[in-house]
């Protein structure tokens, strides 16, 4: 002991910090409904030891992991359980992605194509025979509704309608809009620009933005994800050089760029990680510091139920979105129990996962229906699709609710 050798022998191997308490398995949404899934503890730290011995111990059942990270939130020992599972899928899985996976994962490419012929795509994807083909041939579940494609990309709108005046503001941020805003729901991006402009910030696009890659990672296309991630981080680094924080309106894109890039794709992000933040967090912090003020419409009335998206839970940022919503005088906020909705991005679109996906979300759907709110709010777009499809309630991003409730004239005055 004289040399302190034993004191220094503290495991640097994350998997060895697991004390086998199994709390993660108790919190796993998949384990709760799927007896065939070995559970996070067993799939992660336990089997990893055997995979280190021989890759034949890789179990394809690990594909059932949603990568929701609720196991990591639950772990009292700080084990990155879901990272161990995802990394092992990247390293050991011998199943190549099928065309369906490649299509679902390439949100960028598919989005661009779909935008060009949006009305046709939207109409066709809803047709029963098309759904049957997608189900039978592609393995995309027939019960799923694809999110509608917009006929104008957010980027196109921005360049035509918003870009010019952004330089006139004294303070500036960049915006990582993500695929959903760009191809499906430009309104969310417009809402953000409206709020930021009102509080005196110019909003700029990144020099080059690619899909964050979360769907590529989930579908076994980590090489492409790494290439896209590097492009994004290079752009984010450029924004940082101009002292521009990069705002986001999607919790999953944010989480992917902040954590998954480094943990799963080996992309160095430590110098810019803190520059990537969710817009609600950025706004809340400015308000808390007294740097900006918001004014709201007197006639705004809404009763909304907030759903805690898994990756929001993982980042610990739910509080920013909900506190911001609570500032709106006419808004009644109800917190839904924190649980996974079951979609997990492209996971729930796959035929083999559909039923499990709906079972996972069933308690959440029931709670929403019982509460009967005006709308549901959440920071994640795939949760939005799942909840809208499964409950019929409209789901809004907190930024959109904020933009609706905002008294723009008054806010501009307050921040001059």
């Amino acid at each position: 002991m004289a040399e302190g050798i034993q004191l220094k022998n503290i495991s640097g191997n994350n998997l060895e910090q697991c004390l086998k308490c199994s709390i993660c398995t108790a919190y796993c949404p998949v384990s709760a409904v799927e007896p065939k899934y070995p559970g996070p503890k067993h799939s992660g730290p336990d089997q990893e030891r055997y995979r280190l011995k021989d890759s034949k111990f890789f179990d394809e059942a690990l594909k059932m992991c949603l990568n929701c990270k609720r196991c990591e939130v639950a772990c009292p020992s700080g084990v990155r359980i879901a990272d161990i599972i995802q990394a092992s899928r990247i390293t050991y899985s011998t199943h190549r992605p099928i065309p369906r996976d490649i299509m679902l994962a390439n949100t960028d490419f598919v989005g661009t194509m779909a935008n060009m012929v949006a009305p046709i795509v939207n109409a066709t994807l809803g047709l029963k025979p098309v759904k049957a083909v997608l189900h039978g041939v592609m393995g995309i579940d027939k019960h799923r509704t694809f999110p509608a494609y917009s006929s104008q990309k957010f980027e196109t709108w921005y360049k035509r309608m918003a870009a010019k005046k952004q330089d006139s503001y004294s303070k500036h941020v960049s915006y990582f809009h993500g695929c959903y805003v760009n191809y499906n729901f430009p309104q969310l991006g417009k809402d953000l620009v409206k709020i930021m402009n009102a509080v005196g910030y110019g909003v700029h696009l990144l020099e080059k933005e690619k899909c964050c890659g979360v769907a590529l990672i989930a579908n076994g296309l980590s090489g492409q994800a790494r290439r896209q991630g590097k492009v994004n981080i290079r752009s984010i680094r450029k924004a940082a050089e101009q002292n521009r924080i990069v705002l986001t309106t999607s919790s999953t894109c944010t989480f992917t760029m902040r954590d998954e890039y480094e943990h799963l794709l080996d992309i160095k992000t430590d110098d810019v990680r803190e520059n990537i933040t969710l817009a609600t967090r950025f706004l809340y912090r400015l308000i808390e510091k007294g740097d900006i003020k918001l004014a709201f419409r007197k006639d705004f009335k809404m009763r909304t139920a907030y759903h805690s998206a898994c990756h929001m839970e993982k980042m610990g940022w739910i509080i920013y979105s909900t506190e911001l919503l609570k500032m709106i005088p006419g808004l009644e906020l109800i917190m839904l129990d924190s649980q996974c909705c079951g979609i997990a991005g492209t996971y729930g679109f796959k035929k083999e996962n559909y039923q499990r996906s709906q079972e996972i979300g069933s308690r959440l759907f029931k709670q929403i229906k019982e509460l009967n709110p005006d709308c549901v709010s959440t920071d994640c777009e795939t949760c939005k699709w799942q909840i809208e499809m499964s409950t019929g309630y409209e789901v809004k991003n907190p930024i959109s609710i904020l933009a609706d409730a905002l008294d723009v004239e008054e806010t501009i005055k307050l921040n001059q």
Partner: protein, 532 residues
């Protein structure tokens, strides 16, 4: 386990280590009527407390060419007959900056003379083969070392002995050697579970009791000067290295790192201990320090890898001189014919050697026994595969098997087909760290002489993983109860098992290992009310 109530045998073999098991197999294969007796459980002594290293012989090439030659021959034999117990990892002998690089030449020449393939490879190649190797290495030699599981090797030998008519009694301790007119006629045994004593007779008694052979000899008024040398080893939480890593220098302390199953093991120290401590070996803090310090030189990441437990064994070497380190003594095989040596007919002692030369030891002892009994039958153990390796691979290459099935196959070999996997209950896991199913435990209980959890651990790997029994011990105790063990016995057994696990964790109880032990205490003492 023993249906036959016969007490007349050709040969009684004392000791359920690998030497005794191997000798029982060899004798049975040559048609002798065999009784194998063991005072506790198989592999309770040095067999279960070593590296699990299938030496290529390279380690002894320079200092002990005779042992080196034995090793490489047996290495090749075991790869054939005990394939399911072996992982062909190969080994590296690395030269570090503080070692003399010129030794490499001497080493390779000595290996070549002994018939061991030894190829010099570049440091870059060594790092490519095994990225855990100390990157400061100056050179490396690749040799056919491998990893071998002594528990399953012993089990396979016992099974084959039984299949060839041998009787086997565990928990039967020899309390007296029966002699008459200068001739050994049998043994008196005490059942260590019930205390009951019985006598068994045989034309020959073979003492294969390892370090305890000293006591056996004493009972027959013979003196064998055993040299108890304690060796301590550490088990790490996961596999750091892919290959066996050794130092290319004269054998010294803590210079072998072996990947075994899902862990890796560093060892050993070597200290002369007094004979009265062999049943209760203490592991010191200094030994643990030495093992970590030296281990780190082989694979630097060991310094920050969790240590699961520490254990120590005693080498059953026969003292030849007063060498204080015990290292320059030959690891050679000692086969004593007590008729010639001491004028006591009917008794043979087989000792010395190494775990991995057990088959050769068994062959020598059996040759001598056959000569004495007038039996002329050649040894077949070098060519006949052991149960588990024998026969066809039962698995369908187009079927996807569970991880537990694959893990069980790594332990039981082709005998995996005897494990019931039909029901969900049988497929359920007892031990999540080591992938042991209820079905495998049941198979072990029925077929492999399992009386308690400790036995079950050695036949499967229940409780040998990261949690050291935290989650699996109580489940395993439940399965024992379902298979005929009384509840109060299972409870006592559970307490014993948990305490035995703690014994190994205690010398390395810090960090996550200590946290885990605390959690185990809370579960068993606090939650289950077990009096630990």
């Amino acid at each position: 386990m023993n249906s036959k109530q016969n007490d007349n045998y050709d040969v009684i073999i004392i000791g359920g280590g690998i030497t005794g098991a191997g000798t029982a197999r060899d004798c049975a294969l040559r048609g002798l009527k065999v009784l194998l007796v063991e005072k506790f459980d198989f592999t309770n002594g040095a067999t279960g407390r070593n590296h699990g290293l299938l030496h290529s012989g390279a380690r002894y090439a320079v200092t002990d060419p005779e042992s080196a030659t034995e090793c490489i021959k047996e290495n090749m034999v075991l790869r054939r007959i005990a394939k399911h117990c072996i992982e062909e990892t190969d080994g590296l002998f690395i030269t570090l900056p503080e070692d003399d690089i010129n030794y490499q030449k001497t080493f390779v020449e000595a290996c070549t003379r002994a018939g061991i393939s030894a190829n010099i490879i570049s440091p870059e190649e060594a790092l490519r083969l095994d990225p855990s190797v100390n990157p400061n290495l100056l050179g490396a030699v690749r040799v056919p070392d491998a990893s071998i599981d002594p528990f399953h090797l012993t089990t396979a030998n016992v099974l084959d002995a039984r299949q060839h008519g041998a009787d086997v009694l565990t928990y039967h301790e020899v309390v007296a050697i029966l002699t008459s007119n200068g001739r050994v006629e049998g043994v008196r045994l005490r059942n260590n579970h019930t205390g009951e004593e019985i006598e068994k007779h045989a034309a020959l008694v073979i003492n294969a009791a390892g370090i305890w052979g000293h006591d056996i000899a004493k009972m027959a008024d013979i003196k064998i000067n055993m040299f108890p040398a304690k060796g301590t080893l550490l088990v790490f939480g996961h596999r750091v290295n892919k290959m066996v890593i050794n130092r290319c220098r004269k054998p010294a302390n803590a210079d072998i790192l072996v990947p075994d199953d899902a862990v890796c093991v560093i060892g050993t120290t070597s200290d002369r201990v007094s004979y009265d401590t062999v049943d209760n070996l203490k592991i010191t803090s200094e030994e643990v320090d030495t093992l970590i310090r030296e281990g780190e030189k082989l694979a630097p990441s060991l310094a920050t890898t969790r240590i699961l437990r520490a254990y120590a064994g005693v080498r059953p070497l026969v003292a030849a001189d007063n060498d204080p380190t015990g290292r320059s003594i030959s690891r050679g095989i000692v086969c004593l014919d007590h008729e010639k040596r001491d004028g006591l007919a009917g008794m043979i002692t087989i000792t010395g050697g190494k775990m991995m030369t057990y088959r050769l030891m068994a062959e020598q002892a059996t040759d001598l026994a056959c000569k004495k009994l007038g039996i002329d039958k050649a040894c077949e153990t070098a060519t006949t595969p052991l149960p588990g390796t024998a026969g066809k691979d039962p698995d369908n290459p187009h079927h996807t098997y569970s991880t537990a099935h694959k893990a069980a196959k790594g332990r039981q070999g082709n005998r995996v087909k005897e494990i019931d996997e039909r029901t969900e209950d049988d497929r359920a896991l007892i031990c999540e760290c080591e992938e042991v199913s209820v079905g495998e435990a049941k198979y072990a209980i029925e077929e492999l002489h399992v009386h308690d959890l400790l036995n079950l651990r050695r036949r499967t790997r229940v409780g040998m993983g990261t949690c050291q029994g935290e989650l699996c011990a109580c489940r395993a105790a439940g399965v024992m109860c379902e298979n005929g063990v009384k509840v109060d016995k299972a409870m006592t057994d559970l307490t014993k098992f948990i305490n035995e696990r703690w014994k190994g964790m205690r010398p390395v109880a810090w960090g996550s290992t200590l946290d885990e032990a605390q959690l185990t205490t809370i579960i068993y003492q606090g939650l289950c009310g077990l009096g630990i």
